[in-house]
Symmetry: C2
Subunit: 466 residues, 2 copies
């Protein structure tokens, strides 16, 4: 490392927070999936926004590209170094500030974990609109940068919709600051919304102001056995129209349920199997159970419905859905795809994808489950070799042909780049590239994530960026 | 007009839909406010997306800048020509397509009016998430381009949050198409969200797919008299936490109520006046009245609450709020400002703004009302000369000093450009300019709206844009 760069980084991070020792670096070089890892030229852990800005400015000047990293819980390789980048860790930006218990708003540093924020606001009757299984590690900055989703998107939207103020460091080290938290602000382009989901390629998010959601203590869960996904979507339509506070609408199928019953040693939910299972949860200030029951009454056979209101009973029904991931892992190493279909094509996709996989990758077993209310299915494929992308390609091409998205929640990272042009057209990609070039002309921020850019100033060491 | 340009525009628009006759042009040259008008070099009314793309490509080639125009109901001069632009009217793109009554989604051409869309979806139990007084003229394309708000933002978010798919023509005539409608799509930058609120400066929106909201027939409205705006915000916090389905939370003050009572000849709502009035509406599948009453019980004196559930009674309470605009107009020509404050500073602003106005513009009378749940106040100022911007400047500087937004709903257009730098910092404006330059290097799309850009290729006639 150039001595001047080192001294500027040390000044920005403070002693003990700049390391290039391989042992100290290693936990920053491999992600949650263990599929992605690479060597970082160094790891910088600045303590605050000014420190982040100083790191970005120095690295830009010396031509060192940066991979911003929060809790490192991503699934698409977007938060670990690939080819000579440094890691910019945001974990020390862990302050929770300016909580407003009347309006339900709070400001969180990029490094605050979701769980820390949940534990901070819940005693005051508020909650965070997005919840995830990786809550203990996932950071608010990373969740904004990747526009995290989860099971409540149907009610509260993704992370982008929770953001009402942002502070971020641009590629030249300038600080974009708009933190007071404004629910309405029609003064030009929606930069917070643009940064949300940009996977660290346009700016480094340092703080966000979030709108909170009221904690909803009264909850009701119903698990339904149905003859098809189409039937499940019809019931869901009725629930959305008639029951208040629909917060989750999850589906799964016999192939996944069988694995869950076997690996988690659970009793079957119904005396006979069904072709599709729908789990809905409603939550409100008042008991949502009567309205949910009424919405289901006319459209479902009572023998195929299980109802739960107590915490323990709700957890018991949720287990059939939530234990899918571990049951699948117990069976083998799956290929994990995460796709959205237009609502009208979701049921058709579910039927087609099995046939398409049988044809393209004989001997593979698809296990589907996901967030039916959002058109989002997780397609897990067992029985394929780890490096064989044939099944992935077959599924994603089918998704694209039906007008869907190849990544509902996980993002593109480096893992899905190959298929980006399947679902985003030439004008779309051209516009994205133009925005990337405009905001990061030197290609210093998370290069190689989402797309590769030819024509960007190569991130080689130099002193002048012009 | 160059003969080749004319023939290309005629081919794109069809006979009768390209005019430069002053009589035919005139209705496109003055907006809803009548404050803004200018001469259009011509008006082009293409019938569809391909026609829009052909008009944009031809105009870019011949160096004719375009002002995209929908229903022309904007309030900030962003939809009328200013200095030699042509008007690109989207009104013929008025098809409603692909309505999905199960998922609650629909595709609307840019020229579909809000009212036409409401009338189309309501018989099926669905509604549009944004509603506005100008619904008969305002078009869906214009509402997306300006990120329209309204009284329901507290529940459903602004227009940006309704958009789940978009089709738009970029400055080079390329068509960005992502229409199937995806609730989750983490495949790169959120271009639909970026175009929403960009006021026609980045692309021309031609079609959008919208998520719909379930029609909520059961409604309850409460009008409360309170000792202060701070007290109103505290009650509102309790309602948000405890009552389901809060859909509107409006405030007004004695100065406005007095005008309404006088001009609309209404009876006073309460036997004695209060310092602040709060109107809340809850809506659900089931009657929301008991939960609303319970939420209010502990925090409000029963003598200062009026409750309504029937349509007629609700309308009677809403009239006190809704008739503000006409009552103010009957009194004089107001300066209209539209600001958001951070939640914690809204009450402080309300007290300060009167003092600040008395100091900066003695003899003016502020009338405040607005959407308390969003921190959005409409500041109407009576008694100021039409061209005297002193009171506007004083109010907007106060807003900025408190971390607010100088335009909550109306946008910047040309009217608020002067104050943009009060609330968006240098890094913010620099990033916006970079995006504008990246997507519209020739400066062909609504030039001079939001900001003026030096260094853009001047929109003078030429054949090559390089």
């Amino acid at each position: 490392m150039h001595p001047e760069l080192r001294s500027r980084l040390l000044a920005a991070c403070g002693p003990g927070h700049l390391f290039d020792d391989p042992d100290l670096r290693s936990s920053y070089e491999t992600d949650w999936t263990r599929r992605f890892s690479g060597k970082a030229v160094f790891v910088a852990r600045p303590p605050d926004t000014a420190g982040v800005a100083a790191v970005v400015a120095a690295c830009r000047e010396f031509g060192v590209p940066l991979v911003p990293q929060g809790g490192n819980t991503g699934l698409v390789g977007g938060s670990i170094p690939r080819a000579g980048e440094a890691v910019l860790s945001l974990r020390r930006l862990d302050r929770i500030e300016d909580f407003d218990p009347i309006a339900g708003e709070v400001t969180a540093g990029a490094g605050v974990t979701l769980q820390a924020l949940q534990e901070f606001v819940r005693p005051h009757g508020w909650d965070v609109g997005v919840d995830l299984a990786s809550r203990a590690s996932a950071t608010i900055g990373g969740m904004v940068a990747t526009n995290a989703g989860g099971v409540r998107v149907i009610r509260y939207g993704p992370m982008r919709h929770q953001v009402i103020g942002i502070e971020a460091v641009l590629a030249d080290g300038a600080v974009l600051a708009r933190l007071p938290g404004l629910l309405k602000d029609n003064t030009g382009y929606d930069l917070p919304g643009l940064l949300a989901g940009s996977e660290g390629t346009l700016a480094v998010v340092t703080r966000v102001r979030l709108r909170l959601i009221p904690a909803r203590p009264a909850r009701a869960v119903a698990l339904l056995g149905l003859p098809s996904l189409a039937a499940a979507l019809e019931v869901l339509g009725a629930v959305r129209r008639r029951a208040p506070g629909l917060e989750a609408a999850e589906v799964f199928f016999p192939e996944g349920l069988d694995l869950v019953l076997r690996h988690a040693r659970l009793a079957a939910p119904f005396p006979r199997p069904h072709a599709c299972y729908l789990l809905v949860e409603c939550a409100g200030a008042d008991d949502p159970a009567p309205a949910l029951a009424a919405a289901l009454e006319s459209s479902v056979d009572p023998a195929s419905v299980l109802f739960a209101t107590s915490r323990a009973d709700r957890d018991r029904l949720w287990a059939y859905r939530e234990r899918h991931t571990e049951a699948i892992s117990a069976e083998g190493i799956p290929h994990k795809l995460d796709v959205t279909l237009p609502a009208s094509r979701l049921a058709g996709f579910e039927a087609l994808v099995r046939a398409r996989l049988a044809e393209a990758a004989p001997g593979t077993r698809p296990i589907l489950f996901g967030h039916a209310g959002d058109g989002n299915l997780h397609v897990n494929i067992l029985g394929a070799a780890p490096d064989d992308e044939t099944p992935d390609d077959a599924v994603l091409r089918l998704v694209a042909s039906l007008g869907g998205s190849i990544s509902a929640e996980h993002g593109i990272g480096v893992a899905k780049k190959r298929w980006l042009n399947l679902t985003r057209g030439p004008a779309d990609i051209q516009a994205m590239r133009a925005i990337k070039r405009a905001l990061d002309p030197a290609g210093i921020l998370n290069p190689g994530v989402i797309f590769d850019l030819e024509g960007l100033t190569p991130p080689a060491r130099r002193r002048e960026d012009g």
